[in-house]
């Protein structure tokens, strides 16, 4: 779809989309398909990459990406920019789909319900989450490359510690302590800035 990409590229360059949170809020309000196309072309390739890293085939990764973006379109009204940034919210939609992976034949809404009902935010939660994306980003940038790598492998790509040990060619015990330290450091960095 080179033409659409070109249009979006021009449109992005013009400054029409600088904030994906605003974009999702606008989609919820106006059901603007062009904005959605912009969101899709930004997050679609990232989501596909996310699913690929979980070890599914490119075809399945593409399908899951499609399903995720369709849910983003349908659930856009539920996105609350004071609670989470755009990429965090889209990640949670993808995550919930991912757990759904193994039982595609059954009711696809069952699991979505599990999360939709969860945790109405309290006022203090709002404070915590509003700026958190920024803080987390800064904290990730402050981690050492080794720490960032184990966070990515263990948490984002959900690889068992044994597998990380062979990927990085370090002992299992080192993996465990490195993951623990990296998580503690990230948490400390985020909390220090509050």
């Amino acid at each position: 779809m080179p033409l659409a990409r070109l249009i979006v590229a021009v449109w992005e360059a013009s400054g029409a989309v600088t904030d994906w949170s605003d974009c999702i809020v606008a989609i919820a309000k106006t059901r603007d398909r062009q904005r959605f196309a912009g969101l899709f072309l930004h997050f679609g390739p990232r989501l596909k990459s996310f699913f690929l890293r979980l070890g599914v085939t490119p075809g399945v990764a593409e399908d899951l990406m499609q399903e995720t973006m369709l849910l983003v379109w349908r659930k856009a009204e539920r996105f609350d920019p004071t609670r989470a940034g755009a990429s965090t919210w889209i990640f949670t939609v993808a995550r919930n789909l991912r757990i759904d992976l193994k039982r595609r034949e059954r009711d696809p809404n069952l699991l979505a319900e599990l999360y939709d009902g969860a945790a109405e935010p309290t006022p203090s939660d709002h404070m915590l989450t509003a700026e958190r994306d920024v803080r987390v980003r800064q904290a990730l940038a402050a981690l050492s490359p080794e720490q960032l790598e184990v966070i990515r492998l263990s948490f984002y790509e959900d690889r068992p510690h044994g597998e990380i040990a062979s990927i990085l060619d370090i002992p299992l015990g080192t993996v465990k302590s490195r993951v623990r330290l990296a998580m503690a450091r990230l948490r400390a960095l985020v909390e220090d800035r509050q």
Binding site: E113, A119, F155, Y156
Partner: protein, 215 residues
């Protein structure tokens, strides 16, 4: 005040979606009422969000955008809502539990019942509600793998401590325990196990209740 929370590792697993559906539900019920853990989960969700944003984009198929645009107007399937069964109406249930498909109550003794949850792709995992009246001792048992428990009402005591309403407990295969409900209140818990529990006591009934032995 909640005394027992899921460990940071478990909360990170939850945020990353690494737990099975039943375990996810137990944690969802815990964080529904626990701002501390909710905040910890938010940290890991934000982290994953930042990693998603920074991910190297994978090329999409040529018709990817056209395909999704063509589906935008298709009707959204009606969400499935399961009614809370009569026997649970008198309990204050956490929101994530209310929409679950809860099976029929199985009375094991006059004082104890189980009600299974129908979870997706459960495999060997088991998720259920267990109710025990005041002053009831459950049969000694151990687990293959982890067991997550969220106390929805009342309190129980086992060899590892006392767990009150809103508390979370995690046991693993190293633990053989004999949970006992305290005398103050009846007890309702949501439990999810990696594998069915193993009874270690005698007689080998599904659950044996012996009342009044502890308190």
């Amino acid at each position: 005040m909640t005394q027992h929370h899921p460990s940071p590792d478990i909360l990170a697993e939850y945020a990353g979606g690494a737990l099975h559906a039943g375990a996810m539900l137990v944690i969802a019920c815990h964080i529904d009422g626990c701002a501390v853990c909710r905040s910890e989960v938010a940290l890991w969700e934000n982290t994953a969000g930042a990693l998603l944003e920074d991910a190297a984009p994978a090329p999409l198929s040529d018709d990817a955008l056209a395909r999704v645009l063509a589906r935008l107007d298709t009707a959204e399937p009606e969400p499935v809502r399961h009614a809370v069964p009569d026997f649970l109406e008198r309990f204050a249930l956490p929101a994530p539990l209310k929409s679950q498909k809860i099976g029929r109550r199985r009375q094991v003794t006059p004082n104890i019942w189980f009600a299974p949850l129908d979870m997706p792709s459960q495999g060997s995992t088991r998720t259920y509600l267990v109710y025990a009246g005041r002053n009831t001792v459950l049969a000694e048992h151990s687990h293959a793998g982890r067991e997550f428990t969220q106390v929805l009402k009342g309190a129980f005591v086992d060899g590892t401590g006392r767990y009150d309403e809103a508390d979370f407990a995690c046991t693993d295969d190293a633990i053989t325990h004999t949970p006992a409900v305290t005398r103050e209140s009846e007890c309702l818990c949501l439990i999810s196990t990696d594998k069915p529990m193993r009874l270690t006591g005698f007689p080998a009934r599904i659950i044996q209740a012996v009342t009044g032995t502890l308190y």
